[in-house]
């Protein structure tokens, strides 16, 4: 068993320091990697009821408990909790901050043991598979050979797909929500806008802002504003804000006249309080590099052949234009060709990509049914 450092932050929060260097896709290896994680519920005697939740780009390990740095409640209340599909009374639920993140796991903001200063841009470029491998180390350290379920939405779904490819024998079921098996040109394009906004901020200082005691807040806020638009549908934005004004009249200036402007500025500002700009660069890069089929000459089914004993539930949302249904269908087609047991439904919602974080009753019912039958098959 690996060494587990227990430093409770908020009830179930812990940090694991990996005993060995983590080998990365880039060829480099990273020493002293720390993985911050939360667990909920109790691991059963046969260690067969563990669920790994993979969070999205700006998510964190506080899936069902208060985030101590923001004071906000867990980010997936619709899905995780007593009586919810991911029920800690039934399952042992693990959620870890990803490698490269800024909520306690090792990322560009962490201290480089070689220099004693923050890594900044000397942090190696990581991939989605590197994130999955770091999580696998954590799962091993927790004494779990095989997870009952790996579940993730958005980027979390990409990490779950890497689990399918790298560790199919270590998982029984997999739920992929509002995700894709590769980043499209449009996905990469939006991320590039965000990265350029950060790097154009004079306070970014070539990535060395942490050493100099400043933060590229303006750039990071703009990156978040641009990204936030992609998380919502046109219809949802229109319904929420329309052309409503902040005050009674136009200012004939460049203040936030429209409510949608004020909303985006608020989103940007709230984000810089909790997120690190360099982490944003590294994680978006990892997502852009993600293409599960690349190692198999673009044949996705070949990348998934080892997963034919895993049960899958794939969900998409009608109004999600960031990772649209066509991408989920591509995954389902490959799973079918690979001979895996797959379920798929496109859920009607006008809330855009972010629908996966909200309380969508159909998503809850579908995951409930999927988990009930998987749990029965697993003997839980």
């Amino acid at each position: 068993m690996s060494l587990v450092l227990e430093t409770p932050v908020d009830g179930p929060a812990r940090t694991l320091r990996l005993p060995a260097p983590l080998r990365l896709d880039s060829g480099q290896s990273l020493e002293g990697v720390e993985i911050a994680y939360c667990t909920y519920g109790t691991l059963n005697a046969t260690r067969s009821n563990a669920i790994l939740i993979c969070h999205a780009l700006t998510g964190d390990q506080f899936v069902a408990s208060t985030n101590p740095s923001t004071g906000r409640p867990g980010w997936w209340p619709a899905m995780v909790g007593p009586g919810k599909p991911l029920d800690p009374d039934r399952y042992f639920i693990i959620c870890a901050n990803i490698l490269g993140g800024c909520m306690g796991s090792t990322g560009p903001g962490a201290t480089d043991p070689k220099t004693g200063a923050p890594y900044g841009l000397s942090f190696p470029v990581i991939t989605i598979a590197d994130m999955a491998r770091a999580q696998a180390e954590l799962v091993t350290a927790l004494g779990i050979d095989s997870l009952f379920l790996v579940v993730g939405g958005s980027m979390g779904g990409m990490i779950a797909l890497e689990w399918v490819k790298c560790f199919p024998e270590r998982m029984f079921a997999c739920a992929l929500i509002a995700t894709a098996a590769r980043h499209s040109a449009q996905n990469i394009a939006f991320h590039e806008v965000g990265r350029q906004a950060i790097m154009a901020d004079p306070d970014w200082r070539g990535g060395d802002y942490a050493k100099l005691g400043v933060r590229p807040e303006k750039g990071l806020a703009v990156a978040r504003m641009a990204a936030h638009i992609t998380y919502l549908s046109e219809q949802a934005l229109q319904r929420k804000f329309g052309r409503e004004l902040q005050s009674k009249a136009l200012s004939f200036g460049f203040d936030a006249d429209f409510q949608v402007e004020s909303y985006l500025r608020h989103q940007g500002q709230a984000f810089v309080d909790r997120f690190d700009a360099n982490s944003y660069l590294y994680i978006t890069r990892a997502m852009d590099y993600f293409d599960l089929a690349q190692s198999h000459d673009g044949r996705l089914a070949d990348a998934l052949t080892a997963a034919q004993d895993v049960r899958f539930c794939v969900l998409s949302f009608t109004s999600d234009w960031l990772y649209p249904t066509t991408e989920s269908r591509r995954i389902v087609r490959a799973l079918n060709a690979a001979g895996a047991q797959a379920s798929f439904v496109e859920i009607r919602s006008d809330k855009g990509h972010d629908a996966f974080l909200l309380d969508e009753p159909v998503m809850r019912e579908v995951l409930d049914g999927f988990l009930a039958s998987a749990a029965k098959a697993r003997g839980l």
Binding site: N336, S343, V362, G369
Partner: protein
């Protein structure tokens, strides 16, 4: 695919009788999953489904069935050959765009196909058209012409002709009725085309 409301329970019971215990089954156009549930509970089959409506798929998944939202006309090509023992197409063939291709796919991805459809040559349908001069609305075809999802209706004779053309062997067939149990029949028999309200076939690729 929407199934005609009539003849459904007897249809399912007759299909279940054709399926061997513990086999692998794909139900194409599985609706809200009643047949898959019946097969799972009574025949211990490893069942999968394909269904076009999201409401149908959601209902299936909530029941713990493994179902994919998709279209029989487009998505059957994704399945590898002989993945299943049986591919079932219950009251759905007449609603597909390319019934001939769908039938060919069923017998590519499964050892056997089980197909049922309303028989337009049934005496009630003939009588309805003859006497009213309007598109027949019978208990097996209850929906008005402007609302029906059925775009490729056929008769029992049309179907046996198609099987012959495709080299498909008919292993068993039964006449289905809304109000009484299925009756085994010889699909080539002289009066079955008149007598069967709906027809059910167990098919395999001819050798």
């Amino acid at each position: 695919m929407t199934r005609s409301a009539a003849a459904i329970r007897e249809d399912f019971r007759a299909i279940a009788n054709m399926v061997a215990d513990g086999s692998k089954v794909l139900d194409v156009g599985c609706g809200t999953g009643e047949l898959l549930q019946l097969l799972r509970d009574e025949k211990c089959v490893d069942g999968r489904g394909l269904e076009i409506s999201s409401d149908g798929v959601s209902a299936c998944l909530a029941k713990g069935l493994a179902v994919i939202q998709g279209d029989a006309d487009r998505d059957l090509a994704d399945y590898p050959p002989l993945r299943f023992d049986y591919a079932i197409l219950s009251q759905t063939l007449q609603a597909t765009h390319a019934p001939k291709e769908v039938l060919t796919h069923l017998l590519r991805l499964a050892e056997r196909a089980i197909v049922s459809f309303p028989n337009v040559a049934h005496w009630r349908v003939r009588g309805s058209l003859m006497w009213s001069g309007r598109m027949p609305e019978t208990r097996a075809l209850p929906v008005a012409w402007y609302e029906t999802p059925n775009i490729h209706l056929c008769t029992l004779r049309d179907f046996t002709d198609l099987c012959a053309e495709l080299g498909v062997e008919i292993e068993a067939s039964a006449a289905l009725y809304a109000d009484r149990p299925a009756r085994p029949m010889d699909a080539m028999g002289p009066f079955e085309n008149l007598r069967a309200e709906a027809a059910l076939f167990l098919l395999r690729k001819g050798r």
